[in-house]
Symmetry: C2
């Protein structure tokens, strides 16, 4: 994908902003620095920009290896017809940024996901700081730049953007802290080697319905790499399942499994097939 995309010079990439977020960095890692980047306020806005042709592709976070899925991104696929055309995997390094020594910090601004990923560090190092949640790590850095006795958890790039120092690096509790991002487009990607498919389905209300659905994947020897359930938002305690598994939706045996799945589910929606690193 990278080669063909690089040729289209006027391409616009919408991403979950503001500037210098981890999503911005993931987008630049994938598409390079020469394209037009358009920061969006919310995940829904990224979907809208692509759906309404104001951007060619969108980049949103989908899952962190410590904190799990970004549920709002999953939920967007319920009503959207956009497709996942690629994934970006990026190590996430959280830093304590500000203009004061650690001992003078009274207030700490942080995004809820960063907070969850650094919870242990905060409890050990800043147990008495007032933690204020921000809408992004960049916004947290900006708050730290504007107020006394204040620091933030943000990326090294955000620190640079707001003229802050890195007081301490690598705050994440799990050193193996990685985030997956999805690249959204309006058309499906063609088959590639090492493809993975994401789809969602809802089940009939029968004992063993989930088992019946998963049996199909086993029969075709398609390893499920992921399963998530989300509320349908239509009826309390009714769920939609999101699964990732090996293969491209247009090639056998993946296509056969999807056909069979359609026979035993209320609905099946293909979210896309995209190459993953082996």
């Amino acid at each position: 994908m990278s080669t063909s995309l690089a040729l289209e010079k006027t391409m616009t990439i919408a991403y979950l902003g503001p500037e210098a977020t981890f999503t911005h960095q993931a987008a630049m890692k994938r598409f390079g620095a020469s394209l037009k980047y358009s920061a969006q306020k919310t995940i829904a806005d990224v979907f809208n920009e692509v759906a309404h042709h104001r951007a060619d592709y969108g980049v949103v976070p989908i899952e962190n290896s410590t904190e799990g899925v970004v549920t709002h991104t999953l939920d967007m696929f319920i009503d959207s017809d956009l497709k996942i055309v690629a994934q970006i995997v990026m190590p996430i390094e959280h830093c304590l940024v500000g203009r004061i020594p650690k001992s003078e910090i009274e207030v700490l601004h942080t995004h809820p996901q960063a907070l969850a990923q650094c919870r242990g560090w905060i409890m050990r190092n800043l147990p008495h700081a007032e933690v204020i949640e921000a809408s992004s790590t960049t916004r947290a850095a900006q708050k730290a730049a504007d107020s006394p006795h204040t620091a933030a958890i943000a990326s090294a790039l955000a620190a640079e953007t707001y003229g802050l120092e890195i007081i301490e690096a690598s705050l994440q509790d799990n050193p193996d802290n990685v985030t997956r991002f999805f690249v959204l487009g309006r058309k499906c990607s063609p088959p590639t080697p090492n493809a993975r498919t994401s789809l969602m389905f809802s089940l009939r209300h029968e004992v063993g319905a989930l088992h019946t659905a998963l049996k199909i994947f086993q029969k075709h020897e398609l390893n499920l790499t992921k399963i998530e359930s989300r509320p349908s938002k239509r009826k309390a305690w009714e769920y939609i399942f999101f699964v990732d598994f090996v293969g491209h939706f247009e090639t056998s045996p993946t296509s056969d499994a999807i056909d069979e799945l359609q026979g035993c589910c209320n609905f099946v929606k293909i979210l896309g097939s995209y190459p993953v690193e082996a």
Copy 2:
């Protein structure tokens, strides 16, 4: 459970505070008004109070019918030995609270879960308000009481607690908005009719491992009412599964299914069995 618990007069109930949160209301719905309630700052603190015998029971949110699981509560069970002894199901009604008319609101304080449950309403009614995330709906109400041009999304009880007016009621996008809470204890509950069991397990790395595990539930005709996957936090992209299903872990066929499950999983941990309304 209610009858026997009501007899122990000195009982202390730890809950996710501050006072007047939905968790506080759920705890009072279950245990009545005459016991000692102890507000905790975090979900981890509620677990700690019960584990260290400073509280007899703890109450934490586990799942909202619109927004899905409270991942931090699920994750706490990975390292905790506490048991789920009961569940409380409560309708959640979010209100816009403050001291100004809707047209004068510039800043809106809200908890991330409340924000997610009222996202559609906010977009339609307060698209230009600055939304600031608070650590609880009560804290959001407190902020609205302290600042001009400011309102909050909180419960009617929180409005009353801070002397605020209800500017508009029922903001939740889904009218069928219900939250499940767990009551945590140090010992398992004995068998009851209409029991449900919650357990967690991790799988061996084999194709179809999840299917093999779920097949056991189907074989014993135990309907799975819920499945969630969470990162193991030990290795990137390694998951722990949480399932809820029909029956008490000490009675057949549920106990047989658990025995078989232990044969095909890396580990299985029973989180508790508790009565549910039919």
